[in-house]
Amino acid sequence: MDRKNILKWLKEPGKMGHKYSLWAVYFCTGCGIIEIPPTITSQWDAERFGVIPVATPRQANLFMITGYVSVKTLKAIIRTYEQMPEPKYTVAFGSCPINGGMYWDSYNTIKHIDKYIPIDGWIAGCMPRPEAIFIGVTKLWMMIDKGAATGYIRYRKNYKFYRRNQEKLFGKLPWPPLYPVDEKENKNG
């Protein structure tokens, strides 16, 4: 522990809490999840960085989207993301969620995941090594320190547009909106 940081932490203790307790929801999409077992077990030990996998989205605040996202999986991702308590951070992992990767012309794979849910950080590569995950986590720490990891705030602010994009793909969604989508209420809230 660095003594110089104590004053900073006393100013904003919440940030320190969020930073060192990134609990990742154990949600597997595509092939990227193959990198997660070595990352969380004793070989690389993600717990050094405060990252542990948890079973339910209600306890998690880090969402790693590992690998290609099919249209059906996106539905589950949106539901999982909306269940997580704030503050929540999302990291797109691998090249497929970024721009489709090798599935760029596939009829059933989402090309740009950030059109449907907000993304705080991207880890490029196919597949990224566990070291890349730790670099991503430390970058996320820096972003939380500076207040730049604002995905959940952007989601609340632009919920109308995110919901519209989701409905363009799925037709009518079977669950009610998370935040009010009426324009008047949106301005107040």
Binding site: K75, N158, F161
Partner: protein
């Protein structure tokens, strides 16, 4: 055993060809009308497991090829029963009465190739969401055009903020 089976099949079904392209592999090419009876015959002969149903789109010949993969439980022989059906108004009889597990395979082929299986009670979508286009595994389905039409048309939320 294999040669004996071949003689038996060709004796009963006149318009059927039986080939052995490689070891432990038997291909039975038959007509659409005799599918059900030949599958029933093979089931009685010990081929009690339906492994899969696969489909090939021969677009130049205007035909779909349906392949029923059968296997016995006590020998390594793998039997493929191949039938051809017309590409226009593609439909065939369901084989639910003989192999009950064909339900999901037929549902999948109906979704991805658009071949209708008459008599299958549940042909609802399995993988696709909100699909209004041609079935995606047909050769005349243009996947790049579909991607441009569907995914590229959706605007980016964050860019919209930067512009305004």
């Amino acid at each position: 055993m294999d040669e004996e089976l071949k003689r038996k099949i060709e004796k009963i079904y006149k318009d059927t060809e039986v080939e052995f392209p490689e070891r432990n592999r038997m291909v039975v090419k038959t007509k659409k009308a005799s599918t059900l009876s030949i599958l029933e015959f093979l089931k009685k002969e010990g081929f009690r497991q339906l492994k899969a149903i696969s489909c090939v789109d021969w677009i130049k010949e205007g035909e779909f090829e349906l392949i029923y993969h059968l296997a016995p439980l006590n020998s390594p022989l793998h039997v493929m029963v191949k039938i051809r059906i017309e590409r226009k108004n593609a439909e065939t009889e369901t084989i639910l009465k003989i192999f009950e597990n064909a339900k999901v395979y037929e549902r999948e082929i109906y979704e991805l190739f658009g071949i209708e299986f008459k008599g299958n009670p549940d042909l609802s979508p399995l993988f696709l969401e909100n699909w209004h286009d041609l079935p995606p595994f047909r050769k005349d389905f243009d996947t790049r055009k579909y991607v441009k039409k569907t995914f590229d048309e959706i605007p980016s939320v964050e860019d919209r903020n930067e512009r305004t």
